[in-house]
Amino acid sequence: MNSLVTPIKRETLVVIGNGMVGHHCVEQLIAHGALAHYQIHVFGEEHQRAYDRVHLSEYFGGRDAESLALCEADFYAVSGVHLHLGMQVQEIDRERKEIVTTQGRIPYDCLVLATGSYPFVPPIPGAEGNSRLVYRTLSDLDSIRAAARTARRGVVVGGGLLGLEAANALKSLGLEAHVVEFAPRLMPVQLDADGGEALRQRIEALGVGVHLSRATQEIVPGDEYAYRMNFQDGEFLETDLIVFSAGIRPQDALGRSAGLDIAPRGGVVVDNTCRTSDPCIFAIGECASWNGSIFGLVAPGYTMARNVALQLAGKPYEPFTGADMSTKLKLLGVDVGSIGDAHAATPGAKSYRFIDEATSSYRRLVVSPDGKRVIGAVLVGDNSYYDTLLQYAQNGIKLPQDPSSLILPLSDGAPILGADALPDTATICSCHNVNKGAICCQVDQGCTDLGELKAATKAGTGCGGCSALLKQVFEHELSARGVAVDKSLCEHFAHTRQELYGIVRVEGIQTFEELLAKHGRGHVGCDICKPAVGSILASCWNQPITDPLLIPLQDTNDTFMANMQKNGTYSIVPRIAGGEITPDKLIALGEVAKKYDLYTKITGGQRIDLFGAQLHQLPDIWGELIEAGFETGHAYGKSLRTVKSCVGSTWCRYGVQDSVGMALYLENRYKGLRSPHKIKFAVSGCTRECAEAQSKDVGVIATDKGWNLYVAGNGGMRPRHAELFATDLDDETLVRYIDRFLMFYVRTADKLQRTSVWRESLEGGLHYLKDVIINDSLGLAAELESQMQLVVDRYECEWANALNDPEKLKRFRTFVNDGRGDPDIHFVKERGQRRPATHSELHLIPVTEEAL
């Protein structure tokens, strides 16, 4: 070290607020090397590190706080940023340049306010406790959940964007939901009168009560429900809880008390560089007021955050010049979009409208006085027009001959704005400010994978609204460069798994050879297409996989109906449905394990795995197991594995339904179903959830009224909480929904795609899936059910089938011309059982010793 060089003292930068925008600012500071100039302290009043508020509602759909977090738990520490959570900043002492918390004072050289906003609650007498809930933070949602536990009906005050989202949340908690709005229409900010009306009809059709032009005067105790809301017109509405969503107010208290300039309608005043009236203090996100406006969306906040981070890092930056407030949402499953001047407030603006009263769809296109450009739009019912309209509006693209074609039903051959028509400057992802040029640049650098593109540019990782457009642009750019966007299964089939599934079904194809001859290339296939087709054939027709024509298709595990382990021996897992086993069967298992000296271990799926059998031993072992009443457990197949259960109401004092009975029923119904990947179930007898159903592909949790169904969860490498799919189902409906869900998955998933990844890849997400399964929007339900019934009816234990056929048993020989076992398999004893010898242990084994 050179002692002559005195290190430059780093200045202190304090960020107040660890919300979405504050976090983005820190991320950008780190990315642009600002840590070389500053040591950074971040203060957050909430106890969780920054999380994705935009997707807050998914907290009710099964996601937990951790999965909503915007960064890894150690991100701040690893980057060298000091994060103080659960700590409110109480004061800014501008004279001494210090901030004050309950823990003391910290000096700053530079300060960033990112304190966001808070929900506005009108001063209504009687609003307190469960009649004064709000919808902004994780802890707000905890309060709502707690209040909902004993409630039947819930009311949201405020029919704007967030109010409707809150109403949806109440619905998902099983409450009867109502929306009370002061204005004469829903979403008054974004929609015009006709748009609001179309939305109201759609939402009422979903069973949500809509009460317009209602001002709540007071809240008093109710007769039938906990509270009564009295309206100005003498009407009233009773409810058990009230969520206020009547708008947000910028959280500018710190700025006010520190004497910073505050805008007339609230918010800390900032200029084009996001600086407040004190040049050492910046304000970004929803607490900042620019040109008299606050921006209640995440994208403008991110733009401000980038602007400030670049300045502080001493890099060139673009001034903040306002933001586009266009939004595209799905509220209660209804598409709603609003672009630019939705109310045609621009003098001389002209409108085109399309109204379809039959489906309550509405579209309005607002064009400039000269009729050349799009300046605004309103969409209700179908957002597929949104991307195109937004690009027209944002890039000033010249309108087509007949502008109305942009909002008329697409079957009329509307000119869709292809990805090629977009200029390089067209913003694709506004959250992360990624334009088409940046995407082209990645493609030029050789990126051919959408996941990679997202990682490199962050496009599509904010609110996610641009996913479809992003994919379209990406694929267009790839094709434009001659890169085939290859969706082929492998070199033998230029089809996706889904397409092959359709072909097999429609043409009634029963063998791989037939499919290859009619639709593939070559005569042999490969280790990609053979198992994939094997699985499709099994899903469709459920013929025994031991049939001679099917055998060569299977992976070794399916071929030998056991799981190959690293030394070439197999493990055996008999089915123990629901984890329930009689003492006699348990003893029988133990006896078989002892006789064949099999290493024995209990699995995570509540069954027993027996390891170390050689190929030629499998038929003998299975003969004894079948004798004792066991059947195959399909642990080797891409198929239903187990239905885990807790003991439920039969034994448990908390249980409300017979979870074991249901688990047994489900396991016996779906055993043997071949699918794109393995499937795991669990059934819990009460909300304590001892069976961990929310980590399964299909999770069932008992309620006092029936069963709640969760789908598409996953443990493993990439854990994902299952999402609440339907509530309080009776046995029959539960099974019907599961039939449809599984068969729809089997039909549409990619090869080796778990339900979780499949679900995430579904355009339209959970709402779409519910539409298909519950509302039968594709008219498929009956077909899916009957296809499942065929599979159920054809079930046969594969091992019993094989044992009855000497031809099939021929394969279970270690050597076809010699009775010995594999001499290279060696075991050693550990903790009273045998296990494969390691390489180093092998050298200790005398060469004369043969297989055990």
Binding site: D527, F815, N817
Partner: protein, 128 residues
């Protein structure tokens, strides 16, 4: 590694061999593999009833060089870029049936033997 085209051992032998009976045709499984014992060697036999309108049998070493386990005979046969291959069931790397070369890892190579069907007898060619 230099590409050698001359040293490839075809199913049809390129030099004088002694044929030896290993097993019966009915021991084979069409489009799939079985394993035979040959004086301490383990030989995986793959039966392809129809490649380019010919019936073929391939004999290839059963030991997977990556895991050390004797499992090659239980792999899936297929074609990759027109070459017949078997995929190891453990780590899925591919070996060419005609010469045992590994497509992914050139340092892994399996021994191969000439093989043929004489009537219903499966024969393997040994260097004489």
């Amino acid at each position: 590694m230099s590409q050698t085209t001359t040293a490839l051992i075809q199913t049809e032998p390129t030099h004088a061999v002694t044929w030896r009976a290993l097993c019966h045709r009915r021991d084979l499984v069409a489009n799939s593999g079985v394993v035979a014992w040959l004086d301490g060697y383990q030989v995986a036999l793959f039966h392809l009833p129809q490649v380019d309108d010919h019936e073929k049998v391939f004999a290839i070493e059963n030991k997977d060089p990556k895991s050390g386990a004797n499992v090659i005979g239980r792999g899936i046969v297929g074609t990759l870029k027109g070459e017949l291959v078997v995929a190891s069931p453990l780590y899925k790397q591919h070996f060419r049936l005609k010469d045992g070369a590994c497509l992914e890892y050139p340092e892994q190579r399996l021994r191969v033997w000439p093989a043929r069907l004489q009537g219903d007898t499966v024969e393997i060619g040994l260097d004489s």
